[in-house]
Every structure is written in structure tokens, then in C-alpha cells.
Symmetry: C2
Subunit: 257 residues, 2 copies
């Protein structure tokens, strides 16, 4: 049975998409069958694997709001050995359209569960908000939430809001919802600020913080413009090595290595 993880944090620009793509790419590198699910109307995960979001005929929006089978919309990229349920621009309207749907928070979960047998890992990339799309992501996270935290002050401030949202979802809908782990991202070795944040986050989350810390690396920011993960764009970079280590750490923790 495949594992479903959601990558969430309402703070913007902390490395949610970068972590989804590159963690996914290295899980595939280690032989896992991986499905990426883009539930952010910005469609950054979709474009980071080389898909033009304006050419997407159907994706997450259709999967959530239409009765068609989700398999119709999954795209597979043999070069990257990754599959993706892409986001299309119409997803921007979903937040409002979902408001009156019955069981609106668990639509994504219902559509993804049948796929868990066909993939080893399903990774869901969320938008920077705590609205209905992210709630769908949290409810679908049957194996837990991965929380990227940028090593900067403002990113640390928002963790309280995210934790209380996770608690609310656990109490109201998914009693088994756990935090699978906290990923420290964009660590800049030259600044004290980064060290302060690392200390603070470890004080709050203890062993939930992955040992692997992702450093700031311009190669990671360049890769999306070529539509490929870091594993293909610059496999020898510090960014690639960090996400490879992170994938290994996740696999070992999941008992798959």
C-alpha cells in the first residue's frame, strides 16, 4: 500500500513546491513509483516538471469537482520516472466552488485512496493558504504532513497557525493525522539568523525535524526554468545531495530501505 504525504505550510515561498518535486524525484531515483499531486492554482509543481499549465486539459480541478476517474488526468513522464496530477488555471475557482459541496474537505482523499495501491508514494503540493484546497490536502494526508520551514524569522512565526490548523483537522475530520516531519529549507550557513531558527524549530519539534537540512542553492531555483528536478538539472549540486539524503531518510523512517 502506497504512502500519501502532503507538503503544507501557509507561509509563502518556504520551499513546498521545491520539496515536493525534488523529494519525489529522488524517491523515484531510489526505485519508488511516485505520483505528484498539484493542488495549488499557481501550478508551480506542474510547470516544474515541464508541463505548460495553460495546455493542461484536465487535472486536479476535474478530479475534485467532476465524477470522472482521476486516472484520466494523470500524466506520466518516463524521463523523470514521475507521474503527476497537474493543476490547471481553473483550479483557482475551486476554493469558492467547494464551499457548498457535501464532504468538501475529503473530496481529494476519496479520489486518491484507490490510487494508493498503484504507487509507492503520493506527494501533494499545497498553496500558501489554509483554505479548502489545503484542507483537502491535510485530510488526504493519510500518512502524515511534511512541513517545509524556511530558515528565516517570519517563516517561523507562522508555525503556530499551521499546527493549530492540523489540530483542528485532526479533531474534526482525521483523527489519525500526524506530522510526519519538518524539513528545514534554504539554510544559509553564513547567517546567525538561520542558526537561531534551526535551534528554535528543533526545540519545538524535537525528533520530528529531519536530520537532513536543505541549504540555499541557486541551482534549485534554476531547475524549474528548465522543467526538470534537481536530480536531472544538477545532480552534483549541494541542493541535489540534500534532497537525495532527505529521500533516503524518509525511506528508512518508513521502513522501505
Amino acid at each position: 500500500m502506497g504512502l500519501i504525504y502532503t507538503i503544507a505550510n501557509q507561509k509563502g515561498g518556504v520551499g513546498k513546491t521545491t520539496s515536493t518535486i525534488n523529494l519525489g524525484a529522488f524517491l523515484a531515483y531510489f526505485g519508488m513509483k511516485v505520483l505528484l499531486v498539484d493542488i495549488d492554482p499557481q501550478s508551480n509543481a506542474t510547470s516544474s516538471v515541464g508541463i505548460d499549465k495553460t495546455s493542461v486539459k484536465g487535472g486536479t480541478y476535474q478530479a475534485l469537482l467532476e465524477e470522472r476517474s482521476i486516472r484520466e488526468f494523470i500524466l506520466h513522464n518516463p524521463k523523470l520516472n514521475l507521474s503527476i496530477l497537474p493543476a490547471s488555471p481553473d483550479l483557482a475557482g475551486a476554493e469558492v466552488e467547494l464551499v457548498n459541496e457535501v464532504g468538501r474537505e475529503s473530496l481529494l482523499k476519496r479520489k486518491l485512496l484507490p490510487l494508493a495501491e498503484e504507487f509507492d508514494y503520493i506527494l501533494i503540493d499545497c498553496p500558501p493558504s489554509l483554505g479548502l484546497l489545503t484542507l483537502n490536502g491535510l485530510v488526504a494526508a493519510v500518512n502524515g504532513v511534511l512541513i517545509p520551514v524556511q530558515c528565516e524569522y517570519l517563516a517561523m512565526e507562522g508555525l503556530g497557525d499551521l499546527i493549530s490548523t492540523v489540530d483542528r483537522v485532526r479533531r474534526a475530520i482525521s483523527p489519525d493525522l500526524i506530522i510526519r516531519g519538518v524539513i528545514l529549507t534554504m539554510y544559509d550557513t553564513r547567517t546567525n539568523l538561520a542558526n537561531d531558527v534551526v535551534e528554535e524549530v528543533k526545540k519545538h519539534f524535537h525528533d520530528k525535524v529531519f536530520k537532513t537540512i536543505v541549504p540555499r542553492s541557486v541551482r534549485l531555483a534554476e531547475a524549474p526554468s528548465y522543467g526538470v528536478p534537481i536530480s536531472l538539472y544538477s545532480p552534483g549540486s549541494v541542493g541535489a545531495k540534500a534532497y537525495q539524503e532527505l529521500a533516503r531518510e524518509l525511506l528508512i523512517g518508513d521502513g522501505r530501505r
Copy 2:
């Protein structure tokens, strides 16, 4: 009559809050009476001026959803010579609560217009989404929208969505809505990527792009942890110089200098 500008971009982490706080601080430095308005439930602008968001008794939420006068909630900081309408955590519920309010997109505008005579500049900081809070920000932007664009590939990709949202608001609600200017942020002189983005943005926005480009500067990321703008925290840093220049450029363009 004071000018009301909204700082918006649905892409996360591009420097919306950093630009609102530091542009505001230098406009005050040049003698302007400035009101900051935080409409992001994350309350980053509120905490960046040293206010503990959990201690906020009333702010933007009350201003939008209650009939009380907005003046009750404005806090003034004499040391910074800045006033702020703070965001409180209950603002997170506003997106859903606003859905059924009559004239829901223009509530903020109606509350802020009377204040335009008491301030020279009102700057509104938006969350990283295109929901009802940001729509309120766009409708309230009677003098225009300031768009921070991080000098990275993914931030550039989202500009199309933002422009089409601005167009929709102009067609449906505010015929005079303009883009006052595009602020290039977190420019890293060492990477080609940043130069590519600058070229691309200038190609699309021409003279709308401010000449002043804000470089990446760790001092800017440190300042919020001390609860003060860069003008106080590190006035000699490249980040401070850039926002000072940007404030001067805005004042000259507005005919106030």
C-alpha cells in the same frame, strides 16, 4: 488627499510584507504620515513592527466585519513614526465569513477612504492568495497596485494570473485600478537567473518597473525578528539604501518631492 496603494502578489514569499514595512518606514523618514494595513491572517506586517499578534484586541477583522469605527483599532508607534491597522488571528476566518456579505469586495475601501485625509500614504499588505481578502485589497487600491516580483523563475510564472485578476477587478468593480509599479526584489547579483528575470519583467512591464531594484540582503530578513524596519535596524545596509531609494522614486513619481 492621501494615496492608497496595495502591495499584492499571490506568489508566496516574494517580499510583499518586507516591501510594505520598509517602503512605509522610508516614506515616514521623508516626512510622510503613513498608515500600514495588514490584511494577511499571517500578521507578518503586524509582527514586523513589533506587535505581538496574539495580543491584538481588534484590527482588520473588526474593521471589515463590524460596524465599529476603524480609528479605534489603529495603533501608532512614535519611535517608528508609523501607524498600523494590525491583523489578528481571527482574520483567518474572514475569507469564508465575507462570502455572503453585501458588497463584500469593497468593505475595506469603504472603511479606508475616510482615513485618506489623515494620512499621506496608506499601504495595504496582502496574503499570498487571490481570495476575498486580496480582492478587498485590490478594490481599496484607489491609487494603484504595487507588485513585488522576486527575481526567480517561479515568481515570474505567476505574474499572468495576477494581471488577469487585476483586469477582472477593473472590469467588474474598479474601472480606475492601475498597476502603479513593479518592484524587483531579492536580486542576487551572482546569478544569471536573476538577470534573466529582470530582462523578462522589463520586457513585459516596460516603464512600470521601478528603476530601484532591491538586492538580497540578510539584514532585511533579520529586521522582523527585532520588530523594527530596516531603517532602524540597519540603516547603512544595502537593503535599507534600496528601500530608501524606492521611497524617493515613488515620491517623485507621485509629485510629492
